[in-house]
Amino acid sequence: MIHLFSSASDNGSHLQVLIPVMLICTALVLHLIYYWRPRICPYIATGIISLSFISALILLVKVIHSPNGYLEYFAGHSWSGQRYLASGQPIGIVVRTDLFGALIAALVTGLGTLASIYSKHYIPHTIKTSNIGYYYCLLVLMIAGMAGICLTGDCFNFYVFLEVASISSYGLVAMPQTKQSLEAAFKYMVVGALGSILLVFGIVLLFSATGTLNMAYAAQQVHKIVTAPPGNPLHNFRHLVFASLGMFIIGLSVKSAFFPAHAWLADAHPAAPSSISALLSGLMVKSTGVFLFIRFLFTVFGLHKHEYGMLLAPLLMIIAVITILGGSVFAIAQNDIKRMLAYSTVAQMGYILMGVSLISPAGLEGAILHIFNHALMKSLLFMSAGALIYKTGIRDIREMSRIGYRMPVTMVCFTVAAMSMIGIPPLNGFMSKWALAKAALDANLPMLVVVLLISSLLNAVYYFRVVGTAFFGRAQQHEEIPHADIIRNNHGHSLLQNSYGYYSLADKDRPNENEQELPWGMLMPLIILAAAILFFGVKVGILREIIRPAVQVLWR
């Protein structure tokens, strides 16, 4: 193939656009394929996502070896080869992938592969058979959107991909079609749409001020505007820049569930099917939220260069602290395991914001490291929680006593992730907390370390509750789940609705009751993730070698 991997005339790579394009195209035919051959649909989805994962890895390697730390690809330019206007403004949509984006894209597609493998067995017991085709379609679309966000360098492209990812996730949350999931989906949708519209507002204001949608070029213009002395006509555009910054901060705070706007997350993430919860908590709030937060604040608005960075930092820090403590405290109060995990995600988003709010390379490094590590940990937690629900139908932590003996591998994986979350040393969660703590001390803010530690302690309290109950809980038989109404799923299994309103399979119809604890397809992602947690804990150097230059690129 002629120039499949590197573009002829730029330093970019075709993979930058091919990854989202191939995912979107596949997604749109997937539900047709489901009509035609329902059984191959999961394999095609898994295949295409893993193909995109391989592509993302190749891309990551290419970006690492690129001289500037980023690849620029001009999509939709004119054939004549003209790339820039006379003023230096790029023509067309510039797909600009830096190290940070490439890393997160690899993470997105990698975890997406695992989620899609996991879905094959999990999904038929959660949603209607007629919806499975749409499920895979939306799953692939969502991954396409998240990967697209990470790969582009154009403000409006961000928005489009963000909406692709968001809208598919609304659909996925609503997919089980229970009371809870529908209500959660509605809340999620309203809040998400509000967040998105604020982002559009921000983009428009930025466009008004700078006259461009290209992020790199906009960054130059913002710099010119902010540093223009009074009297210079450019000085008048300052207000637009500030308004735009404010809109971005509010909109992205909503999207990444920082403190006052965190409630939707705690509803939406538990209500989705577990494979989707894993992606939502692990990736969605990051790629559509914190990733863009870092992207815009540092790359476009240059928070580290201008004085408003110093004004914003304390504000962000306060939000971060409240988010961390609030999320942890709320998590303790939960009895539903997935809801607890969702609140834990809120707290972890606070960690990431804390790293960002230090406005130092070390803090940013810690934040990015935590984005990566938390994605692995939280995906594993949600997937193992989903496996528990799949096998036993138990969502309530109080009913989980001795479950660790029935499903040893699942619970051991859960324990590994929980320990990593608490910050037990050789695991990866510790590494990022350590990096954040060190950054906070470097910034001479030991109070933040105290917050981090209190939160670790609270983490320990609520994760230990689960692990303790699962392995050392009282041996007594838990009461029968009170069920309001019995419905039948598409396999003819009767579904019980427990006191929380969630449906689960009745005991007699539970799959593989007497066989191994889980089908291999569900066990494998768990084991891979647990191994990854251990691996990136011990070999954190590999990640830091990518993240350190990534931060340098952002810091420019």
Partner: protein, 496 residues
Amino acid sequence: MLLLTIFLPFVITLVILLLGEKRIYARNGILMAISIFEFVVVLSHSQAVLAGKLSPMTLADLDFFTLTFNVDPLSLLLGSLISFLWIFTTSYSIGYMSGEHALVRYFSSLTVCLGATMGIIFSANLMTFFIFYEILTIAVYPLVIHEETEEAYRAGVVYMVYLLSGGTLVFFGIILTYYLSGGNITFTIGGIPQLVKASPAMLYLLLFLFSAGFGVKAAIIPLHVWLPRAMVAPTPVSALLHAVAVVNMGLYAFIRMIYNIFGPALFAHLKMNNILAVPAVFTIILAAIAALRMDKIKKLLAYSTINQLSYVILGASSLHPIALLGALVHLVYHSVMKITLFYSAGTIIKRTGKTKIREMSGLAKTMPVACAGFAIGALGISGLPPIAGWVSKWYFVKGFLELERPWLGAVFIISTILEIGFFAPPVLYAYFGGNIGSQQVQENKHTNADDDCRFEAPLDMLIPLAVVTILSVTFGLFGSLPFVFGRAAINSLLPK
């Protein structure tokens, strides 16, 4: 070989888990073998260490820090003590726990504790130390809740809250050390050199964090609540908590903190020895007074432990070689005597179901060995001459007199009087009380059928009890091994 002592127990844990509940003899055999193996391996290092050869071993480089292990005289002292007592813990546990439920969980946790303890003792820097410190904390939890009663679960919650909070403080201390010293967190003879340059306020904060963190494990008084609560656990576990692993690790951490992190010079310069003496004295007196009020044997022993632990802290923070020697030797002696007390109390509880002091009345006639062990242990802890405890107290008092702080010496005298006050009743009841107890000896339902009461308890409980009792006496009369290791440790901790 050193790494083997740390990681072999973890492998053995897996083996125990795989063996399952059924294969009792294989499990017992493995457990005894690993305990004896540990002791032999630790002792085998003594030649090299006493000759002054240290060889740090780096296992893995984890970017921010390294997993490094090392043997020095102090760790040799603690390591040999603990691995030695572990032999008795294991054999006593096998006897005491026979027929109980969830033995796989019990013994696997016990073995993890062994590995974690060895890891703590042989770690060469703070992070390695911390990893195993937390593993120990978590591994003890299943042992605390082993009875699975409501009370046990509540004790488990208290235990976890206290210990994890302590761990968090320690972790903050480690981060602060890392920050103040620019990344050097290795235990260094004479203290970490970079800390000298740090500001006093930060160093006081560091002292607070470490003492509060380690103080939870060492049961300094406001932080001691978990220890009496954890008494709901089976007696071998109490012995493990009080005499063998857990609290000793707190003391070990204190000694490491004073001598290998701050260093004696900096510690004295900032008058931290005086600061640390305050809670220690407070704890000694308060715990002794509290123990006077206790009517249950195990609670009494718990408060006695709290009281004794602060002796070590007080002695170690004095920075005087003789008092430090007293502290190190007391660490050993206290372990031996406390394990004697627990084993005899455990034997009594297991055989008769009695937990109150008053119920021990006249028990000496039916259970002579147990009561003799209890009496000897009690006398030793109180510091009466022929038995082990007086030697270390003698050194304490001598050290503080040489330091010209007689009032600290007086604390020991007062404490001794109080100890005699609270240990006298059980002993007197047992030997001179009315004979009300003998009728109430009830057959414990768990004892083996073939054990027809020829002995007062199964042999695998009695033998460890007898051995540790004899040890208490011999250490009192001519115990030289602790002194050999202790002097070597002092030479390494307090460089001339």
